[in-house]
Subunit: 333 residues, 2 copies
Amino acid sequence: MARSFVTLDDVAKAAGMSRAQVSRALRGDPGVRPETRERIDAIAAHLNYRPNLAARSLVSSRSSIVGLIIGDPNNPFHIQLAQAVDRRLLAAGFDAVTSLRSVDDSAALQEVERLLSLRAAGVILLGPAHHPKVIGEIADKLPCVFIGSKRVSHPEVISIAVDDDSGVRLAMEHLYALGHRRIAHLAGGREPSSKERANAYNAFMTEAGLEPLVIRGKHTAASGRQGVDILFASATPPTAILASNDFIALGVLDRLKGLGLSVPEDVSVVGFDDIPDAAHALFSLTTLKQDTEVQAQVAVQALQAILAGDTAGKRRIDMPVSLVVRASTAPPK
Amino acid sequence: MARSFVTLDDVAKAAGMSRAQVSRALRGDPGVRPETRERIDAIAAHLNYRPNLAARSLVSSRSSIVGLIIGDPNNPFHIQLAQAVDRRLLAAGFDAVTSLRSVDDSAALQEVERLLSLRAAGVILLGPAHHPKVIGEIADKLPCVFIGSKRVSHPEVISIAVDDDSGVRLAMEHLYALGHRRIAHLAGGREPSSKERANAYNAFMTEAGLEPLVIRGKHTAASGRQGVDILFASATPPTAILASNDFIALGVLDRLKGLGLSVPEDVSVVGFDDIPDAAHALFSLTTLKQDTEVQAQVAVQALQAILAGDTAGKRRIDMPVSLVVRASTAPPK
DNA sequence: CTGAAAGCGCTAACAG
DNA sequence: CTGTTAGCGCTTTCAG
């Protein structure tokens, strides 16, 4: 194991130049003759030089570290989003430090302490598991971007808000236009996004003069299965189901099949998120697509704006949601 | 946003002591009068002091950072393991820096570069997505512990090897004892763990004088569904299925239900991993349990041993796998 | 374009 | 038990 590290001084000596100049060359500072830069680059590479991030951050009193706190690491959709953010962060020259500790409010705060000690440049909060008050506290300590559906009202936070409301509306209009009238909603737990979606569903049903039918559960496939059992125990089961996310929808699909019901012939199903599995031929789920790549990109740009001291930007950026129509929806029989 | 940081000097001045003594007090060094320590702690807390990890690591030339590279972040089981390791690392006083970049060999190496720049104390590799050669290269640069089923033969790596072989044997003996003879195996992809499991299955079948039947796929539910379709297109379908992991098994369960077959009456199914869903009443999957908590603990202890210069320890630690019998297995009809 | 000098915040000998 | 003294490796003025 190579236990000793090559320092800037070593490179400088090998190049017959000063430390300062080597530093400039390696970082791509202007003011270095191109041929000199190339030579230094070559020597550094040859010597296997790795800049010491600690020293760099110490002297410049800022670091390239950005924290990434995942609200619910056990939800693969959040992981997918986190990966996208991670990739963007890297591309922007940051070092993402991800926290997998499921964040109840205290774990999140603890993670922030650690980021503070690392002198992180900022933090990106993923997913609506975070309490708004806690988000505010975090933003008091560190530049902060929040991706989620919640309405955060803190002057320092930029929130990337998934537009649950228009998403649900899109789905409901689709089902309504197909002719469905008995449309049930399988909601998630207490996450704000789940509430937003349920509210939007209720609003649509009421406006359309229809009877809302909401079953509360969790954002899991198992919850979707249970929901189906409850719904189809009724004498007048729904002809369509709007699930609060794709995991629920996948559970619904499986359970319907188990009950001998066909999708979309007997029942139409719509999900939310467009996880990779949704596109699979076996499911071919009609769902609402959140573009994680775009969300990630916007989040990183927002963070850069904050760091650049750009206070003029919007505090809230709405992300569009689009309806992806696949084979799980059709007119009722 | 609190943009300025309190330094050790600030605390020292407020306490009327020297920087060195404050440093000792705060780190819990012996040689500080208890009352003094308390006073300093109080002042530091009051001033909201946060040690600058960069400065600390710079001067002591070692850091508390440990990298955590997840082989397949999109596999929730790996996330679960990672969370366990993360927790143990924190408890041991390390700062886990997790990488979500799915690691093909080049991404892993790139991540290691970053850890090198952070002067990480070591790295823990999770899951068998890593190529043995790459693991060796990593170990050349950084103290390294590997959790996975592969046989790694590098003098510097400690590998925590899940005992796939005896696990599979356990499951096969269980099925055989129940009276099953036509037992099929749904294998995963090219991950070594998948190969190990398939080999163990083949070995058992051959020894028992039975005809092996392996269908290659991936470690996903969708793959399990497809496997069932292939198996039950045959005139003599199997009476039992050993899946290479729980995701496959869950897909198998769903597809069997779709085909109108009952588990365990018509077909017995065994998984591998014991993911949380497996215990769910809806599935009640008989499976092979890997104790992630224990694996995590052993991994962290192994890392500490390496860091302590303890070269006497074993290079390879086998982790037991146990059979959890639930309701998805029974004698054949 | 390049070099010299001055620290960033902290720990680790070494003296008291 | 406590203070003094040196830097750790790097970036950043400020002069050439």
